[in-house]
């Protein structure tokens, strides 16, 4: 075959141009994150790393703006009916799922019922415990009836929790395939692929209902566990944006040309949590551990990663109550002595030949978490308590706590795990969101395994009722007193979110309530 040189070069030029224009047309936003999703199924998503992604594909009935204002999403409006316990939602019309299936009242009903299925509760079941039943009024109207008056119910729906799943598609492909390969929501991005441990790829959904949808053609969530690698990846341009920037890197990144940073105090808190049914962790031992923790020292070590925490939310949050114990190592030692834990030659305490040793299961996904834990490790050591830090993956972390709590709830099986580190954020503007749920009517797993406490349950119900702020605050104080007595969930620090991105990224706003929103975010040149 003989091709004249000139036409060959023309051909090459043409294809190069075609490639170039194709490359220009395709915009990709690549985000480096510290961890991976656990699945793409909103009923089963267990953590923020997962919901950050599922929330781009799925949407809720309502949502929060970065200014913490509750606004319509798949519901255009809602009202409380005269009975005081039924919320009526008017749904957006003409919305389709990525599969092409329609969104309607039937879908909403099925979503509520699947999430609240008593046989197999979904992840938000505990938070929506007030739910009683859901009824279809017409194709675009549903009534959700509660057991009791509850004022935070709708606000809870604004969190990335009860996301509308494509009912027909879910039933057709089954839970596993939906969770791993073919999720379908109404969100601005549709799912492309997930390589576990590596990346999730989403693409723009062209038939999105909203005015502001995806401004980029693709979003890639890269898993980069190492903090340094994450920063490096941004500097070398491999990714456009990174989450979880280590605090000590923020100044340097801010001063680097072509990069921008966000420092946002959040309603997210890192807790040290204890299993109250663990044989070592009696009430007094838990109190001793709490007394041994010095938040000021932790604060100097973790620096810009966060600020000392004393409650489920920062001061100013509705329901704020300092439930920590003062730093008092002598009191801690007294309590441990009284419990029969005597100091051995090696500096650790022993009882019946057993060392007071606790393994803290930590995912290490929050910047500053591991440093804070190392400080706590030494603070506990100073009073004779050994705390080992066991790094685990999110899936294993959730699995351990769920299995233990289920076994205890069903058969009172003595747990083998003792302690873990969690990070959780308020998504309704008040601390009730993170507090232990009522424990007597066990609707969801109780990870700290606190025994049924009717007085607590009753106060909890009151804190969620449509009463005056003063009355609700009073109820929150009762909850705070119980929480202080239990010392099962010890607040360590409130997280400051540190994000960095290329200058070319615009339209990005950090939501302090853990709701990533990539609508309107664009990649310039």
């Amino acid at each position: 075959m003989h091709i004249p040189l000139r036409s060959l070069s023309r051909l090459l030029l043409a294809s190069a141009l075609a490639l170039a224009s194709f490359a220009m047309a395709q915009t990709t936003l690549t985000i480096g994150r510290p961890g991976d999703i656990t699945n793409m199924n909103p009923f089963r998503q267990a953590n923020n790393l997962t919901s950050e992604v599922t929330y781009q594909v799925h949407e809720g009935l309502v949502t929060f703006t970065p200014d913490l204002e509750l606004v319509p999403q798949l519901a255009t409006s809602w009202e409380l009916l005269d009975d005081g316990v039924t919320w009526r939602f008017f749904l957006r019309e003409g919305v389709t799922f990525h599969s092409g299936n329609p969104f309607n009242a039937e879908v909403v009903k099925w979503n509520f019922e699947t999430m609240m299925n008593p046989e197999d509760p979904g992840v938000a079941a505990g938070l929506l415990a007030a739910f009683s039943e859901v009824n279809v009024v017409d194709e675009y109207t549903v009534d959700v009836t509660l057991h009791e008056p509850n004022v935070v119910f709708v606000a809870t729906l604004g969190a990335p929790l009860l996301m509308m799943v494509d009912m027909l598609h879910y039933q057709e492909v089954g839970e596993t395939a939906y969770a791993q390969q073919t999720p379908s929501g109404t969100g601005p991005f549709s799912f492309v692929s997930w390589n576990p441990g590596q990346r999730v790829v989403l693409e723009k959904f062209d038939d999105y209902w909203g005015d502001v949808g995806a401004e980029v053609d693709r979003v890639v969530f890269e898993v980069i566990p190492e903090e340094s690698s994450r920063v490096l990846a941004l500097r070398t341009g491999e990714v456009d944006m990174i989450f979880g920037v280590p605090a000590e890197q923020m100044d340097a990144l801010e001063g680097t040309g072509g990069l921008q940073v966000w420092r946002t105090p959040t309603l997210r808190t890192v807790f040290l949590e204890m299993v109250t049914q663990h044989p070592f962790l009696t009430r007094d031992v838990r109190h001793a551990i709490s007394h041994a923790i010095d938040r000021d020292q932790i604060s100097t070590i973790i620096g810009d990663n966060g600020s000392p925490a004393y409650s489920h939310g920062p001061p100013g949050t509705l329901g704020f109550y300092d439930h920590t114990l003062p730093f008092d190592p002598e009191r801690a030692a007294e309590l441990l002595d009284a419990e029969g834990w005597t100091l051995g030659n090696d500096g650790f305490r022993y009882k019946d030949g057993e060392r007071l040793s606790l393994a803290n299961l930590a995912r290490g996904v929050t910047p500053g978490e591991i440093e804070a834990l190392q400080v706590i490790q030494l603070q506990l050591r100073a009073v004779g308590v050994e705390m080992t830090i066991e790094r685990v993956d999110t899936a294993a972390w959730v699995g351990t706590m769920n299995d233990g709590a289920t076994a205890w709830a069903e058969n009172r099986t003595v747990p083998t795990h003792s302690m873990w580190t969690s990070a959780a954020g308020i998504r309704t503007g008040e601390v009730g969101y993170l507090m232990n749920r009522p424990m007597c009517e066990q609707t969801v797993r109780n990870w700290t395994m606190i025994e049924c406490t009717p007085e607590y349950d009753e106060a909890f119900a009151r804190s969620q009722m449509p009463l005056s702020i003063e009355e609700r605050q009073a109820a929150y104080e009762v909850l705070g007193e119980w929480t202080a007595e239990w010392q099962a969930r010890v607040p360590i620090f409130h997280v400051q979110v540190n994000i960095a991105a290329k200058d070319s990224i615009s339209g990005f706003v950090v939501n302090p309530q853990d709701a990533l929103d990539l609508r309107g975010v664009s990649v310039g040149n």
Binding site: E226, S228, V231, P246, E248, Q374, L378, R381
Partner: protein, 287 residues
């Protein structure tokens, strides 16, 4: 000391070489640090002293780590961890491997066949893999690290010893001793073992280097010595997280491992070179 060196041709040759002198000196230096590390350390290896991630200064020679501990002190104490794991692991491999190798080589037959199949199985797990398998069911920690690495060293010793025993046994005087009905243990101790010493010495030096690298690797993965106690591998692992702002956190411990392993390998080379004529003679005479 001098007399001892002069009377032993091997030692004389080793000490005579510059490279050998240097590597021996470095190795001994590490041994001294391992022995007296905690006394030499200016600060406590686990107490927080100051602000985190302080760059190296007159006060903290190698800077401070992520929670304000003195890196220099932690490194000195880590030398003991590395040396302890190294020597104990080598001892485990040596003792078990030696017994297996001697038994297999001396008795032959089904004893040999069985033991060598066991060795084959252990050899089927390359490098650090056997140690990982052992750690998986023993759990992490200092003692388990020593056991895990030690088990990994057994098959190498067993094969070496078996081969040497076989070649020694072919010598006339030992055949004679056996033919005269000398008792097994006596033959092994009096005649076989001394012949093995030099090759075991060379091999053990290399094994020590291998064990120290393995310990560093396991600690780097978080499966070795557990925090707050220091180990070079663990220090590199936590230093990696601050590699951009405080690279010294990982670099000093990394250099510490490298220099020690380098010295051990050089020492091993020198020993081998010094022994080589002897070894060669030994093999040719048995042909």
């Amino acid at each position: 000391m001098r007399a001892v060196i002069r009377s032993n041709p091997l030692l004389r040759e080793v000490v005579g070489s510059r490279i050998a002198q240097l590597s021996l000196f470095v190795t001994l230096l590490y041994v001294v640090v391992a022995a007296f590390g905690p006394q030499l350390a200016p600060y406590s290896e686990i107490e927080m002293l100051t602000l985190p991630r302080q760059a190296p200064s007159a006060e903290h020679w190698f800077g401070t780590d992520e929670i304000g501990r003195d890196i220099y002190s932690r490194m000195l104490v880590s030398a003991r961890v590395a040396m302890t794991v190294g020597f104990v692991a080598v001892a485990i491999g040596l003792v078990f491997g030696f017994v297996m190798g001697v038994a297999a080589g001396y008795f032959g037959g089904w004893v040999d066949a069985t033991l060598m199949r066991v060795v084959d199985v252990l050899l089927a797990f390359p490098g650090i893999l056997l140690a990982l398998a052992v750690i998986t069911f023993l759990g992490p920690g200092l003692t388990n690290t020593m056991i895990a690495i030690g088990i990994g060293g057994i098959p190498g010793y067993a094969r070496l010893v078996r081969g040497e025993v076989l070649s020694v046994l072919e010598r006339d005087y030992i055949s004679a001793a056996r033919a005269l009905g000398a008792n097994h243990l006596r033959v092994i101790i009096k005649h076989v073992t001394p012949m093995l010493l030099s090759s075991l010495l060379v091999f053990s030096t290399a094994q020590l280097a291998r064990a120290i690298l393995a310990e560093a690797g396991l600690s780097y993965l978080g499966l070795g010595v557990q925090p707050p106690f220091p180990s070079w591998g663990g220090m590199i692992s936590s230093g990696q997280r601050f590699f951009l702002s405080a690279p010294y956190m990982a670099i000093y411990p990394g250099m510490a491992i490298m220099v020690l392993v380098l010295a051990l390998n050089m020492l091993g080379d020198s020993l081998r070179d010094a022994l080589n004529p002897q070894l060669r003679k030994a093999t040719t005479s048995s042909e």
